[in-house]
């Protein structure tokens, strides 16, 4: 275990060493911080005072509020975030008569909406990948930024017959395992589920457009009409994406969805795998399969319904109650976003079949061992849980037998 902490302690010591070597910057730096901090604070207060002001910009549109806090900015249609008109009504060809056009030149995006809908920029500034782009509400939604991954204030105040939807953009695909299909027309609302960061059922559509990658969440009130749903689809179908508007995900864009590793089925072993399309995979795990020689706890099965991971990445309840002779194996593709060569020390090429004795551990508080390997040009992390720090030879043999049945899919041609 001491060896396992080596890197951890090295970082701590290194940061401390660098810290000791740093002198405070010039006093002007602090003065700059205070001056800009005051201006930012005043800007927030001033914006809050503007609540209720109505702007007339070609068409009469209500500017109900500006952001009272943080980086969220409510903007009127047909303007840049700074309020400078960039389009006139005559230049806009709305999808529907009376609809308005929101231009976001800095983001390389535009979208049309019904005239009484609100657009707020960067509703979730805490997000860094994906980063928050905008939120649109069919009602007067709070402009206060959220510290989370969803506009929680806006959702909490969602009227029963209204809708809020928001767009996030992925700067890099290294943090996601999900597929991004080219955007369809009309815009599809997909994957209705209860997402952890949303707190209630909503749609999640991941899509690519013009070489950029987005996630779109939409939450409808329980009494939203089909007409409202259609207006959302029409609005999203009007989204225009400028390929030069923001950096794409770069080389790792090719890291498309990969099928999970699997174990050939045999009596006495139960398995659960994430779905091959990965469309509903949540959390930080990669495509994965759980194998167990004891029944899975129902609570764990509930987190892997239909191949979707909606809770933790391991069958934690099963692991917690694992008998001392039980074995749980989690095989996880750890490739996504990982760009090391195939002779990486972290994921060494190992001859088949893999050997359970190559696993290191116990790690992470004990009773688990980790084996990493490059197999079929993919990086695989295999975690063995034994219910004990000292697995018996019978347990090791059982784990080895299951490991012999591991099938790691080859990289798809697109990757």
């Amino acid at each position: 275990m001491g060896e396992d902490l080596k890197g951890f302690d090295d970082i701590r010591e290194s940061v401390e060493r660098i810290r000791r070597g740093l002198a405070l910057p010039e006093r002007s730096s602090l003065q700059d911080v205070v001056r800009r901090g005051r201006r930012l604070r005043r800007g927030r207060s001033g914006a809050a005072a503007l609540i209720g002001i109505t702007l007339v910009l070609g068409v009469t549109l209500p500017l109900r509020a500006l952001s009272p806090l943080g980086e969220s900015t409510r903007i009127p249609p047909g303007t840049t975030p700074a309020g400078t008109p960039t389009t006139t009504p005559s230049e806009i060809t709305p999808t529907h008569p009376g609809w308005v056009d929101f231009q976001l030149p800095a983001e390389g995006l535009s979208i049309q909406t019904p005239p009484d809908w609100n657009l707020i920029q960067v509703p979730n500034p805490a997000l860094y990948n994906p980063s928050s782009v905008f939120e649109i509400a069919s009602y007067y939604a709070p402009a206060a930024p959220s510290d989370g991954c969803a506009p929680t204030d806006a959702i909490s105040k969602l009227p029963d017959d209204q809708v809020v939807f928001w767009l996030d953009e992925w700067g890099s695909l290294s943090d996601t395992n999900s597929p991004f299909a080219p955007r369809a027309d009309p815009f599809p609302l997909q994957n209705l589920a209860s997402y952890e960061c949303v707190g209630q059922p909503g749609y999640l559509t991941r899509f690519s457009d013009a070489g950029r990658y987005f996630s779109l969440f939409a939450v409808f009130g329980p009494h939203a009409t089909d007409g409202l749903r259609q207006r959302v689809i029409d609005s999203l179908s009007s989204l225009q994406v400028d390929p030069a508007g923001a950096p794409g995900p770069g080389a790792d864009a090719a890291a498309s969805w990969l099928s999970p590793p699997t174990f050939d089925p045999v009596p006495g072993w139960l398995t659960q795998s994430t779905s091959a399309d990965g469309s509903s995979l949540q959390g930080g795990g990669g495509p994965m399969t759980w194998a167990s020689n004891v029944p899975f706890d129902p609570a764990d099965l509930g987190t892997m319904t239909g191949g979707a991971l909606t809770g933790g990445v391991w069958p934690q309840h099963t692991i917690n109650s694992l008998p001392t002779d039980g074995v749980v194996i989690v095989a996880d593709l750890a490739t996504l976003g990982y760009t090391a060569p195939s002779n990486s020390a972290t994921f060494p090429v190992r001859p088949a079949p893999l050997d359970v004795h190559d696993a290191i551990g116990p790690v992470e508080g004990g009773k688990q061992f980790v084996l990493t390997a490059a197999v079929n040009e993919q990086f695989v992390e295999i975690r063995f849980f034994y219910g004990t720090d000292t697995p018996s030879s019978a347990q090791l043999q059982a784990a080895q037998d299951e490991l012999d049945r591991l099938v790691v899919p080859s990289l798809p041609p697109s990757a």
């Binding site: 396992d4 890197g7 090295d10 701590r12 070597g21 911080v33 205070v34 750890a334 990493t372 975690r383």
Partner: protein, 157 residues
């Protein structure tokens, strides 16, 4: 309470630690002082909130990390190494090289837990993700890091 004096103490106490942590948290070549400065601006603007935060230092680090990520996306100017290579201890270089192999989120977990001492639960709260995700990221990061450091040792040796 004098807001500015209070903040100035915070600035003096946290600036070196923040820059040092950022030096390992963001890719080599990005200047951590830019993101640190921006994070302090936001901390000043929200000072009553930040001061009363359970972990103002961790709040500051997370804010700076996110800013650094955005600056990286948008910056067009050539990167400037800070601290300069000549100022780094050889072991710090080893850590920097090892961390280069660790993906962003894993690196963030390592720094939050290792340098700021956040628990799994606190890290999950800060990152707005499940504890299991933090455990997974942490475990992977440590495997990657340990292997990278071992590789460095072999190379050095």
């Amino acid at each position: 309470m004098d807001r500015d004096a209070d903040f100035e103490r915070f600035y003096a106490a946290q600036w070196p630690k923040l820059v040092a942590a950022l030096a390992h948290a963001i890719p080599a070549g990005d200047d951590p002082r830019d993101a640190a400065q921006e994070a302090f601006v936001r901390a000043y603007a929200k000072w009553p909130h930040v001061r009363d935060h359970e972990r103002p230092d961790a709040w500051l680090f997370l804010t700076a990390f996110r800013i650094a990520t955005r600056l990286r996306k948008r910056s067009a100017r050539p990167p400037e190494m800070f601290p300069p290579l000549s100022a780094l201890h050889v072991d710090d270089l080893g850590v920097a090289l090892a961390l280069r192999d660790v993906p962003d989120r894993q690196r963030l977990v390592l720094l939050l837990r290792g340098v700021y001492g956040l628990s799994t639960r606190e890290t999950a709260d800060a990152m707005h993700c499940p504890e299991g995700t933090v455990k997974s990221l942490f475990a992977r990061a440590r495997v990657t890091l340990a292997a990278s450091l071992a590789e460095e040792d072999v190379t050095d040796g």
